[in-house]
């Protein structure tokens, strides 16, 4: 097995992409993910790749659009305000059925917000991708190793469904260092997909990358084709992990960094005699509805823990469909709940939403 390296999430993102075969990166600096473009600018030329610092996130995603239209494995990364600016380009890529990988190191918002950790771009990631009837396939890692692995896999998934893939992480995962096993860098697959542009050479029919369908019925057919790919993804790409009691009274739902906090809380609560289980979705779209629905039949209640004020909980409620009560424990604006606070909430039900709004341990500040 390969050697472990103590690297942070930004480095894992960049190296994970290069190792998977990504050779084209277009980006614009924004904290807390600046180590990614820095790493790319240093390492991509070594593997024959290209790094371009775009004039804005708007330009960056459109450079990705151009690169993806040639069949290249291209990516961009950013943090919340920058991802807002990329929505137009993502919508065009979905409409033009182009693959790409986008990583969002979510920070506190709305507006300029701050550079603390947050999960308040859940809606942006899972519902967003700009205007129109399309979405990003969205995955949320919870460790540096999982970030490295998922970023790499995201390129294959994006190609498989010809759709942008969003990796949703946060300011903690961006700056946190953990041991990570790195595999050897692979080359991207040779040749071009048959739909890619590059000039109609050797008499092949010309290729057009386009999302304009003035024929309404044709647009509907295109949207249905895209929707069928999402249905296929719901069959193939659902990922989640569970921890804790086999016959729980309480089910905790959390993803990403919040699920790391809950992992420890579940251990503490079980030591305190509460029968509790954690389900951690890794795929957020498609969402592991069925797994949550089955637990909803068997538990007294579900506690949703997220670094936002009730975004992720909507998908849980849609899965539960009223089968059991679903409660929220949320922090926001760059603030983080501690495992002890989650444990208290599990053990004696304290800490309702309004109490979560009182100041707690500061997690504001700058990531690496």
């Amino acid at each position: 097995m390969s050697e472990r390296k103590l690297i942070n999430g930004n480095e894992a993102t960049a190296e994970g992409a290069i190792a998977a075969g990504c050779r084209y990166f277009f980006g614009y600096p924004i904290t807390p993910q600046n180590k990614i473009p820095e790493y790319m600018s240093e390492h991509l030329p070594d593997v024959g790749g290209v790094y371009v610092q775009a004039e804005s996130e708007v330009a960056a995603i459109n450079m990705v659009y151009g690169a993806a239209s040639t069949g290249a494995w291209a990516m961009t990364t950013s943090s919340s305000p920058g991802i807002s600016l990329m929505q137009e380009g993502l919508s065009y890529m979905i409409g033009s059925e182009l693959p790409c990988v986008v990583v969002n190191m979510v920070r506190g918002g709305p507006g300029l917000g701050n550079i603390g950790p947050a999960q308040s771009d859940y809606w942006l990631a899972t519902r967003g991708a700009g205007h129109g009837d399309g979405r990003c396939l969205t995955f949320a890692p919870f460790s540096v190793q999982e970030l490295y692995d998922l970023v790499g896999e995201a390129f294959t998934i994006a190609q498989r469904y010809r759709n942008p893939v969003m990796i949703l992480a946060d300011a903690i995962l961006a700056s946190m260092r953990e041991p990570c096993r790195l595999h050897e860098r692979r080359d991207p697959p040779p040749g071009q997909p048959e739909w890619a542009v590059g000039g109609p050479r050797d008499g092949r029919p010309r290729n057009i990358i386009n999302s304009l369908y003035v024929d309404l019925a044709e647009e509907e057919q295109v949207n249905l084709r895209i929707a069928r790919r999402y249905e296929e993804a719901a069959q193939q790409e659902i990922r989640f992990v569970e921890y804790g009691a086999d016959e729980p009274q309480i089910l905790i739902c959390a993803y990403g960094i919040a699920s790391r906090i809950c992992q420890t809380a579940v251990q503490q609560a079980m030591q305190a005699g509460v029968s509790v289980r954690l389900i951690r979705p890794i795929s957020l779209f498609p969402f592991p509805e069925e797994a949550i629905r089955q637990w909803a039949e068997r538990v007294e209640k579900i506690l949703v823990v997220e670094l936002s004020l009730g975004q992720f909980i909507e998908d849980v409620r849609l899965a539960v469909e009223g089968r059991c009560p679903v409660e929220l424990m949320g922090r926001t604006g760059g603030m983080v709940m501690t495992p002890e606070e989650v444990t208290d909430r599990i053990v004696d039900g304290r800490g309702r939403l309004n109490e979560c709004l009182t100041p707690g341990p500061s997690a504001a500040g700058r990531g690496e």
Binding site: E55, A60, G66, A72, Y92, V197
Partner: protein, 265 residues
């Protein structure tokens, strides 16, 4: 395919005017008196003459020429409004062996896409921009553009453009001329055959600059919009000559081909 529809050259008949291979047979949907058709043909002729059709990617804008991807018989990508130069950057950086051009109007390039075109020029991106400036938003029905002339009536300057309401016209070539990454830069028009010939020469040089990897190239074509200028086609051409060319004088601003050829010759 084109040749089956049109005159096949024979020993007896020497064709002097054929349909360019680089245009499809899709009928153009432009208004009577609009110069987009001439501009399309000139670009297509240049691509034919340079023999690069099979490695060309056209970038279509948002605006009247949104269907450019249907008209140019090359690979094509339809870009979001104003983002053509960013999309072209992505294509050219991943496939440097392609010939890439964006085709953009004044709303697309001079308004919403100004940052993209200026930064592409600053990075000396090796692609060509065809900038069609008719001083009005055509597709959205005649609103003011950044290039609208002072006093010009549009559907959003019903009393004529004033400094107070709409500010000053923006001269794109003059802005770009000071950027070192620009290899070829010219402003042309198409209101008479002599101008059309000149415009074609400039378009060809812009593509040649790209083929020689000299950097960013752009040709502005001062164009007509009889529909939203509310003029007859000939009145529109006269308007270009009398008014537009005063604000937007014809000039070759940058020609590094000449420098390159001089230094090599």
């Amino acid at each position: 395919m084109n040749q089956s529809m049109h005159q096949t050259p024979t020993d007896q008949v020497k064709p002097v005017y054929t349909y360019p291979d680089s245009l499809t047979e899709v009928p153009l949907r432009y208004c009577p008196g609009c110069t987009h058709g001439i501009a399309h043909r000139l670009v297509a002729e240049v691509i034919d003459e340079l023999g690069v059709r099979e490695r060309t990617v056209a970038i279509a804008p948002v605006g009247c020429s949104v269907y450019a991807y249907e008209y140019f018989n090359t690979d094509a990508v339809q870009a979001a409004h104003g983002r053509g130069p960013a999309v072209a950057t992505g294509i050219k950086r991943t496939r440097p062996d392609t010939i890439v051009f964006t085709y953009q109007g004044d709303g697309d390039l001079a308004s919403i896409g100004l940052a993209e075109v200026i930064h592409a020029a600053a990075r000396a991106e090796n692609f060509t921009v065809i900038f069609v400036n008719n001083a009005v938003f055509g597709m959205t029905q005649g609103q003011m553009a950044p290039t609208t002339l002072m006093g010009q009536k549009t559907t959003t300057t019903p009393r004529g453009r004033t400094i107070e309401q709409g500010g000053h016209p923006l001269n794109i070539c003059e802005l770009l001329a000071q950027i070192p990454g620009v290899a070829y830069l010219a402003r042309e028009t198409m209101i008479a055959p002599k101008y059309v010939m000149r415009a074609k020469r400039s378009i060809k040089k812009a593509f040649q600059a790209q083929m020689q990897e000299l950097g960013f190239s752009l040709v502005e074509l001062v164009s007509s919009c009889p529909t939203w200028w509310r003029m007859k086609p000939l009145e529109a051409f006269a308007h270009i000559e009398e008014k537009m060319l005063v604000q937007y004088p014809l000039e070759v601003f940058v020609d590094k081909l000449k420098e390159a050829n001089d230094s090599s010759g």
